[in-house]
């Protein structure tokens, strides 16, 4: 019997939901086991980085990489897995576009640490902060260093395919596994490098069954404040649904369930900045001419960053707020 191709999965800065989504494909996971030799998957099995380091370059056929690059450990493993893998997939929103961890790019990393270790929710009378290195009798120990900004996987290494979603829908994961298995058996061909896989080519509205009309928005509503008409487009009812800008592929789960799309599948094909697109789309359909009236309507969007960049901040054109970005350029200069 010839050797089975090797498979790896890694989590960087992420919540773990992507891993669960993979397990959520039920018996399909057996196909993974049948077709692949799982060589590295920290969440599922024990492994040491040095084992990966010892592997031959390009020896892993497929690596699903989830999570953003938040610290130097993430960066190291991303580069390592890139070297060792033939096909590297940015798996899930964090790896693709930064996702929730990416929102931390609005702040300087010191501020983040401070918030985590010394605010009213944390009782820290002695101002104890984590140190990245510490001397113990056995020698010096290290914990990973936080980087000034969170980066998406492709801002750090070359990526072959992109699979969006927070997390990717299980039926899409299953379909991608089917495809890879078919490719292994010579029954299908890989799509061109850089393709977004496991998602549609249009936006969520395309899969949404709600009826829609020419849009005019007179006020924005928060979802908990209204009982939306069950069959009419949410956006038309003033509920800021991100469906028009979000890549299709989820079967419009949220709008179908009566909640607005929050954009986890990321920008549509060819869109450079998700938030900017959505902002100009919403602005285009606001039904008012008087500047004060427009301001009043816009005030209905209480958390603009959360509305427009919840998933995409790190992957957007601006990527980070100025303090974080400044720290990043200093960091880059120091490295060089």
């Amino acid at each position: 019997m010839t050797e089975k191709p090797k498979f790896a999965m890694y989590w960087a800065a992420s919540c773990g939901g992507c891993e669960i989504a993979v397990l959520n494909i039920h018996e399909k996971i057996l196909d993974v086991d049948a077709n692949f030799d799982v060589v590295f998957w920290p969440v599922a099995m024990d492994a040491k980085y040095k084992d990966v380091e010892a592997m031959e370059d390009g020896s892993i056929l497929l690596t699903l990489f989830n999570g953003g690059i938040r610290n130097d450990e993430n960066e190291h493993i991303a580069k390592l897995l890139r070297k060792k893998s033939k096909i590297l997939v940015a798996f899930g929103s964090c790896a693709n576009e930064g996702c929730i961890p990416g929102l931390a790019n609005l702040s300087d990393s010191r501020e983040i640490v401070h918030t985590a270790f010394n605010t009213i929710s944390t009782d820290n009378p002695h101002e104890i902060y984590p140190m990245t290195s510490y001397d113990v009798p056995e020698g010096e120990i290290h914990i990973p260093k936080i980087l000034p900004v969170l980066k998406t996987l492709d801002q750090v290494v070359d990526v072959d395919y992109y699979m969006p979603g927070c997390p990717p829908e299980s039926h899409q994961i299953a379909a991608v596994i089917d495809l890879v298995v078919d490719v292994l058996h010579g029954k299908a061909e890989l799509p061109p490098k850089g393709t977004v896989i496991g998602a549609g080519n249009s936006t969520v509205c395309d899969e949404c069954k709600r009826t829609r009309n020419v849009k005019t928005i007179k006020s924005f509503q928060r979802i908990w404040g209204v009982a939306p008409d069950p069959s009419l487009c949410l956006l038309e009812q003033g509920i800021p649904c991100n469906g028009p800008a979000t890549r299709s592929g989820c079967n419009a789960r949220c709008p179908t369930a009566g909640a607005q799309c929050i954009g986890c599948y990321g920008p549509a094909e060819g869109v450079a900045d998700y938030g900017a697109r959505l902002i100009s789309a919403f602005a285009s359909v606001i039904d008012a001419k008087d500047p004060q009236e427009i301001d009043r309507i816009l005030d209905g969007l209480v958390d603009p960053t959360g509305q427009f960049y919840r998933f995409n901040l790190a992957g957007s054109l601006l990527k980070a707020a100025v303090p974080a970005w400044k720290a990043e350029s200093t960091h880059e200069k120091e490295k060089a």
């Binding site: 469906g243 028009p244 450079a272 100009s280």
Partner: protein
């Protein structure tokens, strides 16, 4: 289109005499582009004194042929001016004209900067932007559409009348839309016209009659344009024809209704408030069309529920109290806007007392006073209607050339003041004083007229009048209006008592000029006049193709110039009609169907109604003939399903990267 590094780009940097070269080091820029943008596909970079000259164009043509250039970047003036020139040069050499890109280093660099080093660096960055962008330009073919030979003329003053007649005489249909009950405009209110003093009515009415009876003219008075859709060659116009309450077919214009109507109303329009009209009226005897309108706001029947005297006496049963506004739609290929001007409101200059001091008159009031068909049958008298003035002061530049009101010169006021001086002198024998700041008599026979009025004994005082007052300081001033002025030629203050003051009020843009401009998709200048395409070389056209402006709507001017512009606008329209079809810029938006989710965000946005939604397939489509490439929908589509040719995302992103010099050695850019 790119990536395969097949680009062979030529960069041409223009000196524009010293316009650009005075601030930007053109030679350095060209050399820089040749060496530092080589790896971006630039194979040749040249500088030249005047790129737009035929020699400059030949440079490009020659390089295309000899070096096989497949992209061209011209760094010169604004694309508004010469994009066409350079595109044509490329086309002449066999290169698709849309593979040529202009970079404006005059308007955006040399004219707005003084720091030569920084300006030169900026020019380089802008050229880098142009080069990056042009790599993504694709060849485009213009769209040919037929031109509708009918024309809309808005405004029936002398400018509009001239324009309509020229086009109609050439055999093409004209729709003339006039807001008032009759055409004629301001000229119809005058008695004599400077400088020849011919009778305004005698020269105007024949033209008005021609318009009214011309087989090629559909005259819509008491009407206003409500909506304009489409583009040059194919405009759809919606007009509201206000209810006259008269059946125009049955009405013979006999005038019995106006005679019998018991309700007198002060006529603030035609009689400038000096005379009366009835509630049903034609503004003046020679009105065209000779059909009355009912003023429902003042009509007794609408006020009290009874009267209908007009209906009772009308011999042809033409009165129709139930008549409603009519909405008309028609198609035209070109539009001429000749909406004229409004008179400056003299009340705003409070120190001259108009509205407070009865014997202070505006120019338009005096036109009515001098008019034989006016309220005083041509007698120049005081507000009491009988006293003939013995001394009259005429104040020039009221509201014009004045920082507190309008900075501009109203052009006609000096001549109009001289005309009044002559008429007052001739009809009353009064002593006439003209108070002027500068005498502006700059057209044919105008200064001769000034000489004539000087010889007639009119007294000229050079100075800006400070005040007109009725408070006497001496016996001699009692019962008079006193004009307080610094006589700058003598160098002292003077108080001149007169019986009558005439304010030569200036011209202002129509109060609704901004809304009208918006309706037709053109713009107004800071002062509010419609903006021409080019102040010197294209004063008739506007930035919107197919929309022309003529007469005082474009700026203050006299009758001969208004007529000349009316005729010039027609010449432009006729030229367009002759072309029979027109090449539309292929800068258009289109929807990539697979990407369109049918979210309908874009559906209500197109100012040209080019967007249709297909319910059955749940996709949006853009009509390329209607789309003007404005980009509104492209920016709005959140799915990125709409692309704009000539302004693709790739092009714009590449241009930004170029501007930021991401692909070149920046250290070398800033010298």
């Amino acid at each position: 289109m790119t990536e395969n590094n097949q680009e062979k780009i030529g960069v041409y940097v223009c000196h524009c005499g010293t316009n650009i070269a005075g601030v930007v080091n053109v030679q350095e820029v060209a050399e820089w582009a040749a060496s530092k943008l080589k790896h971006r596909g630039v194979v040749i970079a040249r500088e030249y004194k005047f790129m737009c000259s035929s020699l400059g164009q030949e440079l490009i043509e020659k390089d295309i042929k000899e070096l096989g250039l497949n992209r061209v970047v011209v760094a010169a003036c604004s694309p508004h001016l010469h994009e066409k020139t350079f595109r044509t040069a490329c086309a002449n050499a066999g290169l698709n004209p849309f593979l040529c890109e202009m970079v404006s280093i005059r308007e955006q660099v040399s004219w707005v900067h003084t720091d030569k080093v920084a300006a030169t660096a900026k020019a380089k960055a802008m050229i880098a932007g142009g080069v990056e962008r042009v790599r993504y330009n694709s060849p485009l073919e213009p769209l040919m559409v037929p031109i509708n030979p009918a024309t809309l003329v808005v405004g029936g003053g002398i400018a509009g009348i001239q324009s309509a007649l020229e086009i109609a005489d050439a055999g093409h249909h004209v729709y003339m839309v006039e807001r008032e009950p009759s055409i004629g405009g301001h000229m119809a209110q005058f008695d004599k016209t400077f400088p020849t003093l011919d009778c305004a009515a005698c020269i105007l009415t024949p033209k008005m009659v021609s318009v009214g009876s011309h087989p090629n003219i559909t005259l819509l008075t008491w009407s206003e344009v409500e909506k304009v859709e489409g583009y040059v060659g194919n405009f759809t116009v919606t007009v509201r024809k206000k209810a006259r309450k008269i059946n125009e077919e049955l009405c013979t214009g006999c005038g019995i209704c106006q005679e019998k109507c018991p309700k007198k109303v002060i006529d603030n329009v035609y009689e400038a408030g000096l005379g009366y009209r009835k509630a049903i009226y034609t503004p003046f005897p020679q009105a065209v069309p000779n059909r009355p309108v009912m003023d429902v706001e003042n009509c007794t029947y609408y006020e009290k529920g009874t009267c209908k005297a007009c209906e009772k006496f009308c011999p042809t049963n033409a009165i129709d109290f139930d008549q409603q506004d009519e909405i008309l739609n028609f198609e035209v290929g070109n539009i001429v806007l000749a909406t004229g001007y409004d008179l400056f409101d003299a009340r705003r200059v409070t120190n001259y007392g108009y509205g407070r001091l009865p014997n202070v008159f505006t120019s338009l009031e005096v036109e009515r006073l001098t008019n034989a068909a006016g309220p005083t049958t041509g007698n120049i008298v005081l507000r009491d209607g009988k006293t003939v003035p013995k001394a009259v002061g005429i104040i020039h530049c009221v509201g014009s050339r004045d920082r507190n009101f309008n900075n501009y010169c109203s052009v006609i006021c000096c001549m109009q003041s001289l005309k009044f001086a002559h008429l007052v002198h001739e009809r009353t024998g009064a002593t006439v004083y003209n108070f002027y700041i500068d005498m502006r008599t700059a057209f044919k026979d105008y200064d001769e007229f000034y000489q004539r009025v000087l010889e007639e004994g009119t007294l000229f005082v050079r100075g800006k009048v400070a005040e007109v007052s009725d408070v006497p300081r001496t016996e001699r001033e009692k019962g008079k209006l006193i004009i307080q002025v610094e006589d700058t030629l003598v160098g002292k203050q003077r108080r001149i008592p007169v019986d009558m003051v005439i304010l030569s009020t200036g011209l202002e843009p129509r109060k609704d000029a901004k809304e009208v401009a918006k309706l037709f998709g053109i713009s107004c200048s800071v002062n509010g006049w419609f903006i021409e395409k080019h102040p010197k070389l294209d004063p008739i056209a506007t930035m919107t193709e197919g929309i022309y402006i003529a007469g005082c709507a474009q700026g203050p001017k006299d009758i001969p110039n208004s007529v000349a512009q009316g005729a010039a606008a027609s010449a432009r329209v006729l030229g367009k009609i002759e072309q029979k079809q027109i090449a539309l810029e292929p800068i258009r938006a289109s929807v990539i169907e697979e990407k369109c989710s049918g979210c309908r965000i874009c559906n209500g946005l197109c100012p040209f109604n080019a967007i249709t939604f297909h319910e059955d397939r749940m996709v949006t489509e853009i009509n390329p003939a209607l789309c003007q490439g404005c980009g509104t929908c492209v920016a709005a589509c959140p799915a990125g399903a709409i692309t704009g040719t000539g302004f693709s995302n790739d092009q714009i992103m590449a241009q930004i990267e170029g501007l930021l010099m991401l692909n070149v050695d920046q250290e070398l850019a800033v010298a």
